[in-house]
Amino acid sequence: MKDEVESRDDRVANLKGMGCSRKRVEDARFTQGKGNYVDDIKLDGMLFGDFVRSPYAHARITNINAEEALKVPGVLAVLTAADLEPLGLHWMPTLAGDKQMVLADGKVLFQGQEVAFVVAEDRFAAADGIEAVEVDYEELPVIVDPFEALKTDVVLREDLVAQDGSIPDGAHGPRTHPNHIFTWEAGEKEATEQVLDNAEVLVEESMYYHRTHPCPLETCGCVASMDKVNGKLTLWGTFQAPHAIRTVVSLISGIEEHNIRVVSPDIGGGFGNKVGAYPGYVCSVVASIVTGKPVKWIEDRMDNLMTTAFARDYHMTGKISATKEGKITGLHCHVTADHGGFDACADPTKFPAGFMNICTGSYDIPTAFLEVDGVYTNKAPGGVSYRCSFRVTEAVYFIERMVEVLAIELGMDAAELRRINFIKKEQFPYKAALGWEYDSGDYHTAWDKALTSVDYDGLRAEQAQRVEDFKAGKTRKLMGVGLSFFTEIVGAGPVKNCDILGLGMFDSCEIRIHPTGSAIARLGTISQGQGHATTFAQILASEIGLPADSITIEEGDTDTAPYGLGTYGSRSTPVAGAATAMAGRKIRAKAQMIAAYLLEVHDNDVEFDVDRFVVKGAPEKFKTMKEIAFAAYNQAIPGIEPGLEAVSYYDPPNMTYPFGAYVCVMDIDVDTGVPEIRRFYALDDCGTRINPMIIEGQVHGGLTEALAVALGQEIAYDDMGNVKTGTLMDFFLPTAWEVPNYETDHTVTPSPHHPIGAKGVGESPHVGGVPCFSNAVHDAFRAFGLRQTNMPHDHWRIWKTANELGLHD
């Protein structure tokens, strides 16, 4: 038999299980143009819907006249709020416990807001129809500044003010002003104030983490098809959480959940943009019900940037206290969070500011307090986690800037300041001052490895020389050494404290082993480029001893996949990956009984070995998993049901806490403001590594999105609420020309509570990358007195910084 001559190493290699850089199974179709994205879906008689959008950021709508539009050839219907109201669908719930207009109900709150939905035979006719819809607007004062929003008499949301003028509580407690959404606190206020008041050293700094957008290359869209014969609604779409979308559609439409099938086909990148529920989905469903035909809605790029799911927009003020030697004693953080016209943040219900309370970072800070005020303004709703777990990017940016500012105040090296404040290896599991329990970490080892790898001391010496040369007029380029050390919090999350719209944030995997020893596994998550079909098969291969190449992974069809909360916040590996391992172990447990029966020994006398069960002490006696699979279907085994299937719903006991150490070396041309990234070193510790090739790919991508955010990408508004960066002409997406080669490295500190020790990696490089790029810019000017300047550090802003520091004199 072939198996008998194969070495154990060969058998391990044959599985292509965990730890190997297995090539991706997705790539065959994508490289040949055979992906199946939502806009590739075509159904008989399919119509196309598109929106009339508001040109104003704040206005009353006095009249909508669709008469002319309905005369346009190819236009079949024009839906307005008045049409949706009888169905109760003119407003919809948001993920944050607020409600949002599906179509403008008497007023608009942001530029680009959906006013009417034109349904036509094709996109061109829909565009003609949109032109012909007449809308009368009465402009209202526009509020784009959240601080002004809390002072002004201008009320954005009249629906949230009682008739007597009082302000009812919101979904997250008392509100203090009509434009105030919530105040959320974590930590100990008085104790923190006391520590700060008595500090040897105290630094205060304010920073604005600007509004930006995930901007996946594929925009959002859907196809809704109501089959009136069998009463079943099918909804294909760019959904990062298809099961949650099914439940939401059922709740708001009244269609029973078993009559709704939601399918996420291939998704062209998500990065958080495709988590939420958008008016386009609701209108497409209604239009399909009204017309009896399938209706497709696909955003164009401007729609995408202007209206769906922005990220960040946090105004943060911090105070950090320390001893003279640099030991941090306390941290205070206040955030004014600009949520736009509706609170549509995608956060777990109990966390209206996401996991912002991870803002003590990687440091052993005994006392801390965080307060976040959510505010309405005349901007688009959203507040999604753009390639980060919930608001973790903001938190890590905040602490990594505060540490730098403290280093300046103390006159200390910022790397050394970090080192003396890191949580020590032996302190894990570590209970942080703002409530989280970090599972595992070895920060000092990672930091030392990073600093040694880049020759940190050498870099500092070079930088000092550069400053001298600059002052002597020998160069016009400054050198910045950007540092960041981040701790992520991902894998949401434990059902006890994590839910979205009441749905617990567990995830799931269901496995069927076929008689001939291949398998299909379905999960509650959905890949948007992360390569789940490749990596989840690797987890399973190692767990059940069948080759990854013999395992199909399927996600995204709610009729077939088990229920799960989807893919975002780096939760797929920590949660669904755990479910996969656990379901695999159930398969293995049954396989053990079958093997024991076939080998005529007791269950406990066989043990698992790579791809087989062997009789303990007699390795020549074994049954391969392939043989066991066949036996499960062709033999009557006393006391054991036929078949070999398992399902696991995994409720994680804790979050996972990946971490990493990044160093960026940057040259800045003082006269043009152009930064040149000379080197970027990224050490990531994501626990057990499933596929190193894919991990590195995730790191490259996350760093590039971080580069974009730190160095130029923003959703900017003028005073009238006009979006100034609504196309790719103005909204910065880096090209191959602007992006450096990254050096990747790793340490491995497994999560102690995860079945395979994996922590998740997709978002780490973004979370750690943004402060690293930003710190490099700041560091270049440190010798000239710069303490804080806000992102995005585009050429103009960098030039301005240099100018304000007198470097052009």
Binding site: K23, R24, E26, D27, A28, R29, F30, T31, Q32, G33, K34, G35, Y37, D39, D40, K42, P73, D122, R123, F124, C215, P216, L217, E218, T219, D266, I267, G268, G269, F271, I298, D300, R301, Q528, G529, Q530, G531, M693, I694, E696, G697, H700, G701, G702, L703, T704, E705, T727, L728, M729, L733, T735, A736, W737, V739, N741, Y742
Partner: protein, 164 residues
């Protein structure tokens, strides 16, 4: 609506003939009329390159070209590059070097790269980064795309040498 125009073109070796409005964009002709869905729409302002095709030997972003402008021309899309049994070296290299993640930019990226390597069979990394700057990718950070194209160039040059 304007009078329809009579348009003939050749896509991936197949002649096509149809009537279209003057405003019909080539990407719609390909995707909606001819069911060639490899080229994608990412921006409709010719920034992202997801819709890149080859027209008479040049890389063109088909979202900002009218079908009427392509009248009489030869067009190659990703569907005309390699077959399942015999992939183009670029397709092999993108798979081998993890040159893609979500796959949305990939057809345009590979289509553009075929022209880049025709124009410059021995590109440096810098040549590739400059020559591919019209194609955006949000997932990979380009590092493995550059690696894939370098590998494909080496592979194609080796094959050419072997043939000579």
């Amino acid at each position: 609506m304007s009078k329809k125009m009579h348009i003939k073109l050749n896509v991936n070796g197949k002649d096509e003939e149809f009537l279209a409005e003057p405003r019909e964009l080539l990407i719609y002709t390909l995707r909606e009329r001819l069911n060639i869905t490899g080229p994608h729409i990412g921006c409709e302002t010719s920034h992202c390159g997801a819709c890149t095709v080859t027209i008479d030997g040049k890389s063109v972003k088909s979202c900002t070209m009218f079908a009427a402008q392509a009248d009489g021309k030869e067009i190659t899309t990703i569907e005309g590059i390699g077959t399942p049994d015999s992939l183009h070296p670029l397709q092999e290299a993108f798979k081998e070097h993890h040159g893609l993640q979500c796959g949305y930019c990939t057809p345009g990226m590979i289509t553009r790269a075929t022209k880049l390597l025709e124009e410059n069979p021995n590109p440096s990394e810098e040549d590739i980064r400059f020559g591919m700057a019209g194609n955006l990718c949000r997932c990979t950070g380009y590092q493995n795309i550059v690696k894939s194209i370098l590998a494909a160039a080496a592979e194609m040059n080796a094959a050419k040498e072997a043939a000579e």
